[in-house]
């Protein structure tokens, strides 16, 4: 058949995928383990955006995608969506987690104290080139404090509420099992509070930073002060069918609360939280949350604008889809264009009327 010569689609895509996979080679359990151990920040970031707390699967996805974050994310999201939702866990209050790090920029000291915890904030960013010359880099051991910091810390906002500085948050009357779930229903606007927070929790770190940064630079109305940034481990407490509530394990979480003094007579808060430790993301997301009330339509701090445009699977997918052939639509527009050119040569009634 004369037509068959051009019909190599199936073979072409198979070979193209093989070429990509040849770059990364064999994926072994030890490689996945090494990725998980060596790149905790990356694993955390991917878990947060995937909204799936599974360090092993995240490391596997990173191995399988060769480190392409959007590919890794899609692998995890596509896996996650096929899993049954067994339960909604017990809510976790801020002061219930095991806090590793908790700082406030709003006060010099806060009830419970500033806990620096693990951070590179004050590290000198010098590339350890000696490693390439064969000398291993060995981090110095941590010297424990004389008195260990308490594991649990009160929330600063609770103190501010008690002082009358902050409006106490409105209790959401929704029954726990009826909490809207963004992964099972569409996002519509004005968005439900649960949807907003869920959407920010799984937003693209880079996208959230870009839009959050635009708000910080002045495209928003409220300048954020970090009221509280907290990295914790929290218990996932679920109910056994027999009625006992038990912990099914711990997950790492980040939460940020930013504050502006530009309220009427009280402070206004913006909030964001995510799975895994990812400080840039929660501070940016909380800044967007802070700025969104009453933001003009189509501004970067308008809720519809930033939630749609920081969805990593949708935005990255749409971006790469432009590689697909578009020759039918192109042909259709070309036809209209040629028609218009022809009209220009022979004036139409509409055109002659104009000069009349």
């Amino acid at each position: 058949m004369a037509y068959v010569a051009t019909r190599g689609g199936e073979r072409a895509i198979e070979q193209a995928e093989r070429m990509y996979r040849a770059q990364t080679g064999r994926i072994t359990p030890s490689r996945v383990k090494e990725i998980g151990a060596a790149l905790p920040a990356l694993v955390d970031r991917v878990m947060g955006e995937a909204s799936l707390y599974a360090p092993d699967l995240a490391a596997l996805a990173l191995a399988q995608s060769g480190g392409d974050l959007y590919e890794a994310l899609l692998l995890l999201r596509a896996w996650r969506t096929t899993q049954p939702r067994l339960q909604v866990a017990e809510p976790v209050a801020a002061d219930e987690g095991f806090t590793h790090r908790r700082i406030s920029a709003a006060f010099k000291d806060i009830p419970g104290g500033q806990i620096l915890g693990p951070t590179l904030d004050y590290a000198h960013r010098l590339l350890a080139t000696q490693v390439l010359e064969g000398e291993a880099y060995k981090p110095a051991a941590v010297t424990p404090a004389a008195t260990p910091a308490p594991a649990r810390h009160p929330s600063l906002a609770a103190w501010q509420v008690a002082q009358g500085l902050v409006e106490p948050p409105m209790a959401d009357p929704v029954d726990r099992d009826a909490i809207p779930d963004l992964t099972r229903e569409p996002l519509l606007f004005p968005a439900k509070r649960a949807h907003t927070l869920q959407s920010l929790a799984r937003a693209d770190t880079g996208g959230t930073l870009a839009l959050g940064y635009s708000a910080m630079r002045g495209y928003g109305t409220a300048h954020p002060t970090v009221n509280e940034l907290r990295l914790s481990e929290v218990e996932v407490r679920v109910r056994h069918p027999r009625g006992v509530t038990f912990s099914a394990g711990r997950v790492k979480t980040s939460q940020a609360e930013v504050v502006t003094t530009k309220g009427k007579d009280r402070l206004r808060l913006g909030f964001a939280a995510t799975l895994g430790w990812n400080e840039v993301k929660v501070i940016s997301a909380a800044t967007l949350d802070l700025n969104s009330p009453g933001a003009p339509k189509n501004s970067p701090v308008n809720e519809e604008f930033f939630l749609y445009h920081t969805e990593p699977v949708e935005s990255s997918g749409f971006c790469i889809h432009f590689k697909l052939p578009h020759y039918v639509t192109f042909q259709s527009s070309l036809d209209a264009l040629r028609g218009a050119q022809a009209k220009k040569e022979a004036p139409t009634p509409a055109k002659t009327e104009e000069t009349a």
Binding site: P349, A350, E353, E354
Partner: protein
Amino acid sequence: MTALAKAMPQLVTAEPLMRFDSLSKRYGPVVALDDVSAHVYPGEVLGIVGESGSGKSTLLRMMNLQESPDAGTYALDLPDLPPNLFDLDRFERRMLCARRIGIVYQNPHQGLLMKNSSSGNVAERLLIAGERRFHVLREKARGALDASEFPLDRMDAPPVELSGGMQQRVQLAKAIALEPALLLLDEPTTGLDVSVQALVLDTLKRLQQDRRMTMVLVSHDLGVIRTMADRVMVMRQGKVVEEGLADQVFQDPQHAYTQQLVHAKL
């Protein structure tokens, strides 16, 4: 019989076209309108004057059904309308405004699609009303622009490329394209050069005389009101402090505030 009816019997041969009764509106502690009543007869130009914050803009937004009062009613003497227009839902309000009420805003950005063609801005009105013939859209847009004394060789230029006076003429053409029962003018010449202002006012006057168009003109500028209005309402702090025939109010203002205004101007 009211004093007005005695003075101008030709106006009361008809029922009022528009009637407001006891409109009140508060924004938190601010009283925007306090028991305001008014009526406009067909073919009449009502001028509403007052400083910013007097309530005149709130009143105009209500006439255009963009806002509802806390209390009070609004009626237009046109077929198939309820006795109180504030009973209409959002959709019905939109259709009524698109078809029967024209408006010219102070800021052309509020009334125009700045990047569409000028004729398109006029045509949009006709499209909302269901016109689906291209040549009719062209003819009617041309007619309305012509009546607004807009230069027709620029009819397809976008407003963003036009001067302020021309933009106001496009707004005017859009407002009159469907021959509305009521034309609302919200500070239509504020911000224009004095010479341009006079030209736009000339156009408005001519239109009013040719078509006996019913107009409500809101302005802080007594000169503009005096040029245009048959009857004047003076507002202050949400209240009507004085009302009467234009000549009467300007020559012999009764209320102290009006006296102050008139003397400051003259």
